[in-house]
């Protein structure tokens, strides 16, 4: 068997802190992962949801009878059918937060009963023997809708005469809260007040694996329910409560592998409840694997979406005295159990001051319902838009005061710990000034400023921007119980097996965050074994201790700490028995655990095997010390003493170049300095930060869920949503400035959650800094080229309504040679630039494809331009010549490849020697077709 990091085993040093290879990887790189869609059960049927084609409508009738006539269809249900099976509403009191503001509860049927409130709401569910017949059958479900007025924006929802999403409500406001205190005094004393309105659209964290459920009922076990979830134990409870089934008859299992979650798998999905009901009805296993389109339409991973009307009051030296903020959020329909869409703006606002020492804050939160899917959690949980508002406002403050923004940031950093912010957020530990200074030093601000000045003279614009955050590393029971009636403790069961190997059980399932590796490193140190000797199991409610979920940076701080406590409890017992077996008078804490042995520190010659003690306690429990119970397993609970949470921090700096002609942004450098307490595995930490930042770049620069006025999501594909690929993003440089927390055994803090949040502020501030000569303000995302151009146009020619009509001088490229071929090439480049400039309507049905072609086209042009011989062929082709000669002397490097391609047989009798050019021409043609809006061949208008 391949062992993990065999080369490191010889070193008898601590495993914690080492960048070892991950334990989970071996199965994954061999294609042997076990994701939900990989699990099959005998007799399993497939499920398909028929979803609403209207965003708001009354359901006059739903008829599934014709679907049943399709061969292979096993059953079909409407909402009315499920009512007969005992379907109940989702928002039972147990699944609603107790919040300090005023909250209204919407109706919340898992499967629509009398009306639908968003496009994509499930109306019927069909079960069939094979998945291919399901879509045929779905076509035959007859739904009679009575369309109702559709509300899709905050403005519409808050208008006095607005129709209501829920008719019985007096308006569309679902939640209102006042947070913090009264800032009137501070504002009266201020030298300067900055006011700005930031608006962040719906984006989020959609993981690569969509959701899925595999569920079955039998009368002995009850419900066995595999599902993509971050919180199996809470889901078990919820299924039991909502369906009124005994809790002991519900078992929820998170698959061993999950293809990312990022918060999107934390809520209880309505599909879980529907499928549990129908599986019990037909007494066969039912599997549903969500499609990407379904996932997008259901709102999975749609968050952000906040408007901030922010004001900061400051002294003329840049010291901030107070802030006011009004946060307005369109949460969609609001029927999501537990989170309801209102928790994200709440959580974000709660942490708005992050590491800034701002003594007073006065915040109003308003959430409205609309006919969109409900917001779902996305990595950074509410903080992404809030960071733009806060860091963006500080940037404005520096600009108004003509101070360096970095100086203003530094002046306002919290320096004393612990610290409680004006909203009540607790910061337990850190070194914000040290981390910030390390960032400034790493980015070498002076040389960036120098280069910036130099380039400006040449008409090029680079800029530097700061963003940052503190994040809560898990939250304790003290904070969770009053809000959610859920515990905050970390919990782990640790068992030492007969063989001296270690088995750990935790309730919260990972989805890529390296739990197996991290726990193994920690427990290898505790027991003096190797990570290979430790095994972790998780996520099955039958075998693991009750855990509140793999959310909010809990693993490294809470779960790891619980595992350490459990291990230390067992070590006491082991020490006791070892002393007894060795016949020495030693207390349990006088032993160290090394290389599978238990060594007496007072005489290292006296030692015994961990395995021997384990066998004595588990297998041969006779002649144990007086009063010692057999067995060697322990479940420990961890809560930090006297603090509600631990605090991580990160400091981001971006250097960007902005092309004012096109509005295109290029990220030249992205640097992050992070505090995650004691890093358990630095490679894993680096991966979390890089991945989080790139998600933030996607959310800031490319991504947006676009809805039309009928409440239909316009971009239901990854391409249309513009999730970034490798070529779209820079390398993210990560540095560590960790301050171990004193509040848990190892000083660890979590690092999975927050990384995307500061990106919005860092990039926007960098773009504004680059465009400082224009005095541009950016207040909304994503930073698409047309938005940047519009922002420039707004200050350069404010009288113009939108884009300046002036012809933009084309970019002149210098080529290696000249002649006809280069003229053709230049023409093609001009076409490329033209598309680049015009290709950013807010959204267009083909925008993703066009962008793909454009990228191919650009790459091919660059490849062609680099070879004079290829340019020569280009000229021959444009002249209509049938045979192309390749001038090997012009490009000896390509000659061999050209000959090889030339000799490849082709079905058309031609040669494959056009591999360098034809793709460019193909892309060119595709672009022409797409841009001229000519229907494709065979397509009717």
């Amino acid at each position: 068997m391949t062992t993990i990091n065999a080369e490191s085993e010889a070193l008898a040093v601590s495993w914690v802190g080492r960048p070892i290879k991950r334990k989970e990887d071996l199965r994954l790189i061999r294609g042997r992962g076990q994701y939900l869609a990989d699990i099959k059960l005998p007799g399993m049927v497939h499920a398909f949801f028929v979803r609403s084609k209207h965003a708001h409508a009354r359901l006059k009738s739903v008829d599934v009878s014709r679907a049943l006539s399709v061969p292979g269809v096993v059953a079909a249900y409407s909402g009315a059918d499920l009512l007969k099976l005992g379907m109940r509403e989702l928002l039972i009191p147990e699944l609603v937060n107790e919040l300090p503001g005023t909250l209204r509860l919407p109706p919340s049927w898992p499967l629509a009963v009398d009306k639908v409130v968003f496009h994509g709401e499930p109306i019927a569910v069909i079960l069939a023997e094979t998945k291919y017949v399901l879509e045929d059958a779905a076509e035959l479900v007859v739904i009679d809708y009575e369309p109702l007025p559709v509300i899709t924006s905050v403005e519409q929802a808050m208008a006095d005469d607005s129709p209501r999403v829920y008719e019985s409500w007096p308006d569309n406001v679902i939640y209102r809260e006042k947070m913090g205190g009264d800032a009137t005094d501070a504002f009266a004393k201020a030298d300067i007040i900055i006011t700005e309105r930031f608006e962040v659209p719906r984006t989020g964290a959609s993981p690569m694996e969509c959701r899925g459920v595999l569920t079955q009922w039998d009368d002995h076990s009850g419900l066995t329910h595999w599902t993509t979830t971050q919180r199996p134990h809470l889901l078990r409870q919820a299924i039991s409560q909502v369906l009124d089934w005994p809790e002991q008859m519900v078992r929820v299992i998170a698959p061993k592998d999950q293809g990312g979650s990022f918060g999107t798998k934390a809520p209880h999905s309505r599909e879980d409840f529907i499928l549990a009901l129908v599986a019990r009805d037909i007494m066969r296993p039912v599997r549903w694997v969500e499609s990407r389109e379904e996932s997008f339409r259901a709102g999975v991973g749609q968050e952000r979406a906040q408007i901030h009307e922010i004001q900061i009051a400051a002294r003329s030296d840049g010291k901030i005295l107070a802030l006011r903020d009004r946060c307005i959020t369109d949460i969609g329909h609001g029927q999501q159990p537990v989170f309801m869409g209102v928790m994200y703006p709440r959580a974000g606002c709660f942490m708005i001051t992050s590491f800034y020492d701002i003594p007073q804050a006065e915040i109003e939160i308003v959430c409205v319902v609309t006919n969109k899917p409900c917001l779902t959690p996305s990595r950074a949980f509410g903080s992404f838009p809030v960071r733009l508002a806060m860091d963006g406002a500080i940037n404005r403050l520096a600009r108004e005061l003509d101070l360096d923004p970095l100086e203003v940031v530094r002046k306002n950093l919290v320096t004393v710990f612990p610290y409680v912010t004006a909203t009540g957020n607790f910061l337990d530990s850190g070194d914000f000034v040290g981390g910030f200074d390390k960032l400034v030093e790493t980015i070498d601000v002076a040389s960036v400023r120098e280069l910036q000045a130099k380039l400006r003279e040449q008409g090029r614009f680079i800029g530097l921007g700061f963003g940052g955050e503190t994040e809560r590393s898990g939250v304790s029971s003290k904070a969770y119980v009053p809000r959610q009636r859920k515990p905050g403790y970390g919990v782990a069961t640790v068992k030492v097996l007969n063989s001296g190997k270690i088995h750990v059980l935790v309730g919260d399932p990972p989805s890529g965050q390296s739990h197996e590796t991290v726990i193994s490193q920690v427990l290898a140190d505790e027991f003096g074994v190797t990570p290979d000797d430790v095994r972790l199991d998780y996520g099955d409610t039958l075998s693991t201790p009750y855990g509140m979920g793999n959310v909010g940076n809990r693993m490294a701080s809470y779960t790891v700490s619980a595992a350490v406590l459990a291990a230390r409890e067992l070590k006491k017992k082991i020490g006791l028995v070892a002393a007894h077996d060795l016949g020495i008078d030693a207390s349990p804490d006088e032993f160290t655990f090394e290389n599978g042995e238990i060594v007496w520190v007072k005489d290292r010659e006296i030692r015994t095997q961990l395995r021997a003690v384990a066998v004595h306690l588990i297998e041969c429990p006779i002649q144990l010390p007086q009063g010692t119970e057999p067995g060697l397993e322990h479940t420990a609970y961890f809560e930090p003493q006297n603090v509600p949470n631990m605090t991580g921090a990160s400091f981001h700096c971006a250097v960007v170049e902005v092309m004012p002609e096109t509005g295109v942004i290029k990220i030249l450098r992205y640097v992050v300095v992070d505090d995650c307490g004691t890093p358990i595995n630095p490679l894993v930490v680096e991966g979390q930060v890089q991945g989080g930042v790139v998600m933030g770049i996607g959310n800031t620069v490319f991504e947006e869920y676009v809805y039309n006025e009928r409440g239909e999501l316009q971009n239901t594909t990854l391409e249309g949503y513009m999730m970034p690929c490798a070529a779209d993003v820079p390398h993210v440089e990560t540095y560590d400035h960790s301050v171990p927390t004193p509040n848990n055994p190892l000083g660890t803090k979590g690092k999975g959650e927050g990384a995307p949040a500061p990106v919005s502020g860092a990039l926007v501030n960098a773009v504004e800094d680059a465009l400082r000569p224009f005095g541009v303000s950016i207040t909304t995302l994503p930073l698409k080229p047309e938005r940047v151009r519009a922002a420039i146009a707004a200050v350069v020619s404010p009288e113009a309504e939108a884009e300046p009509a002036d012809w933009v001088e084309p970019i002149v490229r210098e080529f290696a040679g000249e002649g006809e071929g280069y003229d053709v090439l230049a023409e093609m480049y001009r076409f490329y630039d033209g598309i680049q400039i015009s290709l950013q309507p807010t959204w267009h049905p083909y925008v993703g494809q066009i962008r793909g072609w454009l990228r191919d086209f650009g790459q091919m042009l660059d490849r062609a331009a680099a070879s004079p011989a290829v340019v020569d062929v280009l000229a021959q082709m444009f002249n209509g010549e049938r045979e192309f000669a390749f001038q090997s002397d012009l490009d000896p490097g390509l000659a061999a490849q050209w000959d090889r391609l030339r000799n490849l047989p082709r079905p058309d009798g031609g040669h494959a020697y056009l591999d360098y050019i034809l793709p460019a021409l193909d892309s060119h043609e595709m672009l022409l077709v797409a841009c001229s809006n000519v229907p494709f061949e065979g397509e009717t208008k």
């Binding site: 869609a37 993981p207 990312g260 490679l683 490798a726 990228r855």
Partner: protein, 186 residues
């Protein structure tokens, strides 16, 4: 409507009768149980998680019908270690991903690795010249990863390329020789 097809998958000839509308990815996952090939965008051709190597070319198996693969050769992620000389030995691409933490949730990884198989096969054919990070990023535009931020994937490719450069040319080529795969089965 159904058709009987015969596809060589990871060196084994697989003969099955399938609905003509069945996608190659479903054929691999549901008919052959090769669940290492994943579905991320659900048949849109964007995410690349279902990428396999079809007749030597990285191909998105959700964009191909199973019947189109009739008579052709497919290599999936499960086939990578079949190129090894000893059981348990990993393909340099797999080693690269493991060494450089090129995966987190692992969902996009099989598709990524099969795209990289094509990239490195070409690189090896051309005599293993150094690859720039930029070139690697450009060749991965057909595969989306939501966890890693791509830097560690780029490092994984560099690591695999470096392992290959350290081998003699024959040994290097053998890691991409699909004929060898079939040879070991006969």
């Amino acid at each position: 409507m159904e058709k009987t097809i015969s596809v060589t998958v990871n060196g084994r000839v697989q003969r099955k009768t399938v609905p003509i509308r069945m996608l190659l990815v479903d054929f691999l996952r549901d008919e052959l149980g090769l669940t290492g090939t994943h579905v991320g965008c659900t048949y849109e051709g964007r995410c690349g998680a279902c990428t396999v190597v079809l007749d030597g070319n990285a191909t998105k198996s959700c964009m191909v019908l199973a019947v189109q693969a009739d008579g052709h050769r497919v290599v999936t992620v499960e086939g990578l270690e079949e190129f090894a000389n000893a059981p348990g030995e990993l393909h340099p691409i797999q080693n690269g991903f493991w060494e450089r933490h090129g995966l987190q949730c692992g969902y996009c990884t099989p598709g990524m690795m099969m795209t990289i198989f094509d990239i490195l096969a070409t690189n090896v054919r051309e005599g293993s010249p150094e690859l720039t990070d930029e070139a690697i990023r450009q060749s991965l535009v057909g595969n989306i990863c939501r966890c890693t931020g791509y830097s560690h994937i780029v490092e994984a490719v560099q690591s695999a390329a470096a392992q290959l450069r350290g081998m003699d040319p024959e040994e290097r080529a053998a890691w991409f020789d699909t004929a060898k795969l079939e040879g070991t089965r006969s």
